[in-house]
């Protein structure tokens, strides 16, 4: 992807999407597309890495929920990495849908 602060890669069986530092209406479409494209690649586990993210508006939350819905339909396991964003994600209850880990390594090795 050409978007700054944005990365899409594969680590073993895991698809990892690194979300930019700020997610808002200006880049949320790209984030959503990147996430959904990984779901369509048939990886068993998708990790949304928000460890660099310090701001995410409600459109970003929408992208995460849309991804959750898609993974629920395809049977892909979804995990989230969050630090600064953890508090907000907990307030809106996203932690009840998607397990959240403090760093990428924890997310990669979870359940192993």
């Amino acid at each position: 992807m050409s978007v700054e602060g944005f990365e899409l890669r594969r680590i073993g069986q895991h698809g990892v999407v690194t979300v930019p530092a700020e997610v808002d209406i200006t880049n949320t479409d790209e984030v959503r597309q990147a996430l959904l494209s990984v779901v369509s690649q048939d990886v068993p586990v998708l990790i949304i890495d928000m460890s660099r993210t310090t701001f995410c508006d409600s459109t970003g939350v929408q992208a995460i929920i849309a991804t959750y819905r898609q993974t629920a339909a395809t049977g892909t396991e979804l995990r989230l990495v969050a630090t600064t964003m953890l508090r907000i994600l907990t307030f809106i209850g996203v932690d009840q849908l998607i397990p959240i880990y403090p760093d990428l390594n924890a997310a990669l090795t979870a359940g192993a």
């Binding site: 409600s58 929920i65 307030f91 996203v94 849908l97």
Partner: protein, 381 residues
């Protein structure tokens, strides 16, 4: 809109004259249905009057919108066009280009000739120039219409006067975001049982669509509130209704039901920030409220309820994320700032203090709603 339509009609007339064409028409994309709708025409007025609709991807105009490219039709017949009016009119040749604004197709502009004619690449270029001009004008008009409608809708939905409830005092502040109107709302109502309901919510997204969904949620919540005094049950039903009828929409809602004596509140939060509670002589705190999943995200979410005792003089401050979320400040700092600002004073003064401390003179990017309730202190009337 009339002046906008008139302007578009004049533009079309000019386009038709410049290209020496017999007909010209603009179809605009209706995003909810995915259809192109005839909006303005010259020499082809029946298209507009009969409300022609063409699905994107089908027929002549539909192909242009789907391919984002000019299309020239040398032979107009049943196999190339969908719209019978074009055939009945006797149009022989058609040329059309997409209207593109903000990188997205928002419609199609086409011209037609009643005699066989070969449109040149210069003609295509001329038409595209006209289309670009029209797209910019239409886009800003639509955005303006959207904004005006959303503001009007929101104004009509927010209670103009808060209900009077014995022993309760309330005040609100509502500030629309810069340039955009979102889906924030607040609502206060008394129930037949004597309970008092307080709602603060925020529909994800902005503009007219968010305002429309907000309106539907507000009335659905009121309807369910009449049936039960259990806030969790009300939010469960609201969630189910939203997932069925507005799939994809998301919202956070906090709903508090106060006992008739106002000495106790049961609060349920669907992904919404907890209210701040301040009792006289004690520091304010965030209500200890278990979070529930935001509305619309997934079926069957648990809806935990917290019960909070309200002693006389206690203040509860409800708010939306526009009050506290700032790019350059961690959320906990902002919540701490809010807790410092909320004190057990009369609601209007408390609102003023909160707005001064959290908003100050900064323009707010997002909608901001604040609703402060106070149980009257003993000995006041």
């Amino acid at each position: 809109m009339l002046t906008g339509a008139e302007r578009t009609a004049a533009e079309l007339e000019r386009t038709r004259a410049v290209l020496q064409a017999d007909t010209a028409a603009v179809l605009l994309l209706d995003f909810s249905s995915g259809e192109l709708i005839a909006t303005a025409a010259a020499g082809l007025e029946e298209e507009v009057r009969q409300g022609v609709r063409i699905p994107v991807g089908r027929g002549f105009a539909g192909r242009i919108a789907a391919q984002h490219q000019p299309v020239i039709l040398d032979h107009v017949d049943h196999s190339t066009v969908l719209n019978p009016i074009l055939l009945a009119k006797g149009i022989r040749t058609l040329m059309g280009v997409p209207l593109i604004a903000g990188g997205k197709v928002i419609g199609v502009l086409h011209v037609g000739s009643l005699t066989p004619r070969e449109f040149t690449s210069d003609d295509v270029e001329l038409l595209q120039l006209a289309a670009d001009r029209a797209a910019t004008a239409v886009h800003s008009l639509m955005a303006q219409d959207d904004r005006i409608a959303a503001q009007a809708l929101q104004r009509s939905l927010l209670p103009s006067a808060l209900p009077v409830a014995d022993g309760a005092e309330m005040a609100v502040r509502y500030v629309p975001g810069e340039g955009v109107v979102g889906g924030d709302w607040y609502d206060v109502f008394t129930l037949p049982s004597g309970h008092l309901g307080i709602v603060v919510g925020d529909v994800t997204g902005s503009g007219l669509q968010a305002a429309v969904i907000m309106g539907r949620m507000r009335s659905a919540l009121r309807a369910y509130a009449l049936d039960t005094c259990d806030p969790a049950e009300v939010l469960c039903r609201l969630d189910r209704k939203m997932q069925h009828f507005e799939p994809g929409a998301l919202a956070t809602v906090a709903y508090a039901v106060l006992d008739p004596g106002l000495d106790r509140a049961r609060i349920c939060s669907a992904g919404h920030y907890p209210p701040v509670i301040a009792s006289p002589g004690r520091p304010a705190r965030l209500a200890d409220l278990p979070s529930g999943l935001l509305i619309g995200a997934a079926p069957g979410a648990e809806r935990p309820v917290a019960t909070i005792d309200i002693s006389p003089g206690t203040v509860m401050c409800f708010y939306t994320d526009g009050l506290i979320e700032r790019r350059d400040r961690p959320i906990d700092h902002r919540l701490a700032l809010l807790c410092q600002a909320v004190t057990a004073q009369p609601p209007d003064a408390a609102c003023a203090t909160v707005m001064a401390a959290l908003v100050g003179s900064q323009p707010a990017h997002d909608d901001t709603a604040v609703l402060i309730f106070r149980r009257k202190p003993l000995g006041t009337r």
